[in-house]
Symmetry: C2
Subunit: 502 residues, 2 copies
Amino acid sequence: MAPPSSQACAAVERSIRERVPPLLTDLYQFTMAYAYWRAGRHNEPAVFELFFRDNPFGGGFSLFSGLLDCLLFLRSFRFSDEDLEYLRSVLPPATDPAFFVFLRELDCSNVTVRSAPEGTVVFARVPLMEVSGPLAVVQLLETSLLCLVNYASLVCSNAARFRMAAGSRRKLLEMGLRRAQGPDGGLTASRYAYIGGFDLTSNVQAGFLFGVPVAGTMAHSYVTSFSSLEEVWPHTLMTANGDHESIDLISLTKGWLRLVCELLGAEPGKIREGELAAFLSYAVAYPHNFLPVIDSYSVSCSGLLNFCAVALSLFELDYRPLGVRLDSGDLCRQSVEVRRVFRLCSERFSIPAFHSLTIVGTNNISEHGMAELNLKENEIDVVGVGTHLVTCTRQPSLGCVYKLVEVRGSPRMKFSEDPEKSTVPGRKAIYRMLDTEGEEATSNIGWKLKMLVFQFGLDHWISQPMCSTAETREKVQHSIQNLHPRYKRLEEPDTYTVSIIE
Amino acid sequence: MAPPSSQACAAVERSIRERVPPLLTDLYQFTMAYAYWRAGRHNEPAVFELFFRDNPFGGGFSLFSGLLDCLLFLRSFRFSDEDLEYLRSVLPPATDPAFFVFLRELDCSNVTVRSAPEGTVVFARVPLMEVSGPLAVVQLLETSLLCLVNYASLVCSNAARFRMAAGSRRKLLEMGLRRAQGPDGGLTASRYAYIGGFDLTSNVQAGFLFGVPVAGTMAHSYVTSFSSLEEVWPHTLMTANGDHESIDLISLTKGWLRLVCELLGAEPGKIREGELAAFLSYAVAYPHNFLPVIDSYSVSCSGLLNFCAVALSLFELDYRPLGVRLDSGDLCRQSVEVRRVFRLCSERFSIPAFHSLTIVGTNNISEHGMAELNLKENEIDVVGVGTHLVTCTRQPSLGCVYKLVEVRGSPRMKFSEDPEKSTVPGRKAIYRMLDTEGEEATSNIGWKLKMLVFQFGLDHWISQPMCSTAETREKVQHSIQNLHPRYKRLEEPDTYTVSIIE
């Protein structure tokens, strides 16, 4: 894994400007800003709070993510002439032209953000961010901030649940780019799934921009693109230490294949030659990184036998093959069978390492399916998750809201026809009660949850230094560890008590 | 509504390059491309098909969308030196440096796309796109094409279902930006929800880039930011034709409020002064565009009364207020009550237009909730939909796949441990049987579904001219109209028969 380059860091910031221009918001933010401006109220000091109403996925907590993107967005918040020209065409004709002059000069230099740290455990109805500043400006920021926090926090929380369901032993690979809400949804998913506890991503751009470790070897199309051993070229390979002349890998593997068939009592006639050609060709290209997908035709009649034969050849040449990937059918049952065959090969051919080759499973795995892996016998070492992780099938929206709580120093609230939509007026200080061990405390000797304070200025940006993606990931795991297990149960957790005191 | 500017069109194309760089793909595309290259197979002619396995949302069809973005992506597909430097750091060290020289020179000049037209009705297991060209290149394109088609087609199909559920009379407003998978998810949702049959979006950037009509007036925060009538400034308004001096809108409205309370037998003591101030202030700013949200406190005790009083003042000054928005509680019941009060005001004060003011409903509406609007008594004219539309809660992924069907002119297929994951080998020509009326035909006298053919060249781009967003929207409605109603039922539709003939 390479750390992100400085170009990559600059690219993140540049991409926020491209991805979140100030027009990427709801029209009513502008009509409201105009009405404030028209009434001379646009500079009144106002405070909004960003929070969600229910912990996602029926869980006991959530993780807060997206802060860094929010800060980059605030820093770059400026209207271009082109933006204003378009706005002029869609706002009502009654709009005073001087309003656009006002917008042209707006930025977030008078906006202050108080926020929970990125990647910390948070709870329903507790403010995650407090945004204060001139009424018209902080109103205009609503939709963009919600858009940047909502999905990032949701997918990070979802990833943390997959992590808890998987246990700490198994490696988790995120591979949902093709099923996400377009390119940016996929990129956000890869970034925050890693922060939430995944180990790897298939998404190369996420590696490039955020330093997430990337992984992947081959798809079925690679396997099915081969039809005969004649397509294997070159078919020779040097030993790993390079001190012998090239060996003919095809003849070597044919010999091993006969032995494997004998050992397992398999029918050589059912073995796919194209699959063997694909495996050999990949092994010649990447002898140190051999991990083929073995279910393009049949695992037990072809894929597993071909794998064993090529892997045995690689071992003979002093390479260390990595393992196999299973992508369909009953992954648990198959993984047990695969491990049994690995053990037989290990014993029969006296190669201890053959026993512990890696088995990767990828087949539309849900959180529930992940939890089941701990109950059913299986030998899966790495699990790849796509659709259910990135689309958060169980609850595809966190439902964060951004509510006005104070104007000119006096509290504000909304009542609503739905009681649960009413808001708690006034600014809040957030405390979390922990004992000296960092466990949830039952007494009143409390510890205040630290809030970061960011101040935006035209030419300066006062803040705690921002964490790297990997550092944030560490913080997430630490923050989850400090939470009592009773709030972390995946199903029916205890409710963490959040109280309001004056 | 302003048409998108030429700057906006250029911005769409530029944004594809920013949003879908060639690294936004799975790592295994590169390891496979390397293995093809190493074996000298990278230029073998290959054909992939992009299709989905089941119609989404339990429906009988889907809409195909995302083609334009795919074409822009293919046109701009080039690796930068920075991309290659990163790739070098993550591919296995065994990778031959000459491979990066090969990648540096790659583009899609030898790639051909045959595709269903953007915005047409399509069915499960029928190829939507056929991508042919050099094996290594068409393999590298997989993830990006899937990412661009999957969500666009899903949200477009979802929008079409909301449209069918709503009937043609009601206007539909998309407002899901804050709940989408980040900025691009929100933008894609706004664009394709419109194409799928929505009328309006709240997303200003979608208006700017794609010419989608935008709408919106105010949120609860605007209402709750006011606490007294002293905040209304200016509080005078000229008549609409401007031929009288300014009238004091506060006194005028207070008079109307007394009459409204009398008419309805309401208690003036329960009326929120801050809410009235917010409505007055907005009416002064936008007297032609008065459509407040009336449930910040209580619809029947405050919001509706304040609205009627301000609206009556506006009518008196020859303006035409637009209506109200309801955002919580039982929208159907409240809309009936609101319409009853509109009728009473209309009759009592002899203003016929008061009866038919617009009622907008927005409260977490699902497709099911939309369909219920046709069964329950209600007076809702415009429905705003956010979360359930953009996250496609009922099925958050379409599950498109991209499968190799031919190499060097010979067919390819995959078997898989899951029978439904097996593929049909070889290239297909797609026909759709329609009779002369354009209805689904039962006889064999068929009509061939037209496929567009795109050819990419370095300096030329041969294609049918691309449609604007509005034109594609028209095509979608036309395509849906031609489909027999039995395939369009929202629940348990007939299965459209797709057969394979040789």
